[in-house]
C-alpha cells in the first residue's frame, strides 16, 4: 500500500469535499443570522452526499440530497420563518460557558484523533471495492427486504407515529370549534 497521500483523483476529491464540508460547518457556527446558518447547513449536507459517493453508497447519497438537503433544510427554513426570523445571535460579553464548551468539544475531537493516529490500533488495509460490478440499490434492497424486513416495518410505524405526533403537537386545535 502507498505511503502518505497518493495524489489520485479520489483523494483530491475527498480533500476538496472535506474542506467544503468543514468550511460550511464552521459557517454554521460563525454566521450571525439564523437563516444563513440553516443555508450553510444545506452546504454541509450536500458535501456529505459527495463523501457518501466516495464511500460507494450511491443510493444513500441520493437519499441524503433528497431527505436532508431537500426536505430537512427546507423544513428548518420554514420553522425559522414561522418563528423569529430576524433573529441574530446577540453580542454578549464572554462568560465561561462558550469557553468550556470549546474546551470540551476540542478535547473530544482530539481524543478521537489521538486514538485514530497514535494509539497503535492496526486499521485494516484499504481494499478494492467489495461490491465491484454490483448494483448498490439491488444490494440494499435485497438486504432490507430479507434480513432486515422486521426493522424496516418497525421504522415505517415509527415514522408514521412521529409525523402524526408532529401534526398533533403543532396543531392549534382552533378548527374544532
Amino acid at each position: 500500500m502507498v505511503e502518505g497521500f497518493a495524489l489520485t483523483g479520489q483523494s483530491v476529491a475527498f480533500f476538496l469535499i472535506s474542506l467544503f464540508v468543514i468550511a460550511c460547518g464552521v459557517m454554521v457556527l460563525s454566521l450571525r443570522k439564523v437563516i444563513y446558518m440553516a443555508i450553510a447547513l444545506g452546504g454541509v449536507f450536500i458535501g456529505l452526499a459527495g463523501i457518501y459517493i466516495l464511500l460507494e453508497a450511491e443510493f444513500l447519497a441520493f437519499i441524503q440530497v433528497l431527505l436532508y438537503a431537500g426536505a430537512i433544510t427546507i423544513m428548518l427554513l420554514f420553522a425559522i420563518m414561522l418563528t423569529r426570523h430576524d433573529d441574530v445571535d446577540a453580542e454578549e460579553k464572554i462568560t465561561a460557558h462558550p469557553v468550556w464548551s470549546a474546551i470540551g468539544a476540542a478535547a473530544i475531537g482530539l481524543i478521537v484523533l489521538y486514538v485514530l493516529k497514535f494509539s497503535g490500533v492496526r486499521w485494516p488495509e484499504p481494499i478494492e471495492s467489495p461490491w465491484a460490478g454490483k448494483n448498490n440499490v439491488n444490494l440494499i434492497g435485497e438486504s432490507l427486504f430479507s434480513q432486515y424486513v422486521v426493522p424496516f416495518e418497525l421504522v415505517s410505524v415509527v415514522i408514521i407515529v412521529a409525523l402524526v405526533g408532529a401534526i398533533t403537537l403543532a396543531n392549534t386545535g382552533e378548527e374544532e370549534k
Binding site: 502507498v2 497518493a6 489520485t8 483523494s11 475527498f14 472535506s18 464540508v21 468543514i22 460547518g25 464552521v26 454554521v28 457556527l29 447547513l41 454541509v44 449536507f45 456529505l48 463523501i51 457518501y52 464511500l55 453508497a57 444513500l60 437519499i63 431527505l67 426536505a71 430537512i72 423544513m75 428548518l76 420553522a79 414561522l82 418563528t83 423569529r84 433573529d87 445571535d89 460557558h97 462558550p98 464548551s101 470549546a102 470540551g104 468539544a105 476540542a106 473530544i108 478521537v112 485514530l116 486499521w123 484499504p126 481494499i127 448498490n136 444490494l139 440494499i140 438486504s143 432490507l144 434480513q147 432486515y148 415514522i159 412521529a162 409525523l163 408532529a166 401534526i167 403537537l169 403543532a170
Partner: protein
C-alpha cells in the same frame, strides 16, 4: 486510495463542530441543526466501516438508512415542539425554556 482513517478524521471534526454548536448556540433551531450535524458524522463512520472496515458488508449502509429515517422523525417532532413552544412563550431562546428547571 482512500483509507479508513481519513473518513474517521472527517467524522471526528464534524462531530466536534456539531457538539460545540449544540452547547453554545442560543437559538433552539440552531441547536437542532448542530445535533443533525453530529448525527451525520456518525453516519459517515457507519459507512466508512462498512466499506473499509475489517468485515466489509452492506449492513452498514442499511443501518445508515435506518438512522436517516429516525433523524427525519426527530427533526419533524423537534420542529413541532419548537412551534408549540414559540406559540406559548413567544421566544426561541434556549435559556428561556426553563419551565422544568429545578
Amino acid at each position: 486510495m482512500l483509507t479508513l482513517e481519513q473518513f474517521l478524521t472527517l467524522a471526528a471534526i464534524l462531530f466536534s463542530i456539531g457538539l460545540y454548536g449544540a452547547l453554545t448556540k442560543k437559538n433552539i433551531i440552531i441547536v437542532l441543526v448542530s445535533v443533525e450535524m453530529m448525527l451525520s458524522a456518525v453516519n459517515i463512520n457507519l459507512l466508512a466501516f462498512s466499506r473499509y472496515g475489517f468485515v466489509p458488508s452492506i449492513n452498514g449502509q442499511v443501518f445508515t438508512l435506518f438512522a436517516m429515517v429516525i433523524a427525519a422523525c426527530e427533526v419533524a417532532v423537534g420542529l413541532a415542539i419548537l412551534i408549540s413552544l414559540y406559540r406559548n412563550r413567544n421566544t426561541t431562546d434556549v435559556r428561556d425554556q426553563d419551565l422544568m428547571k429545578w
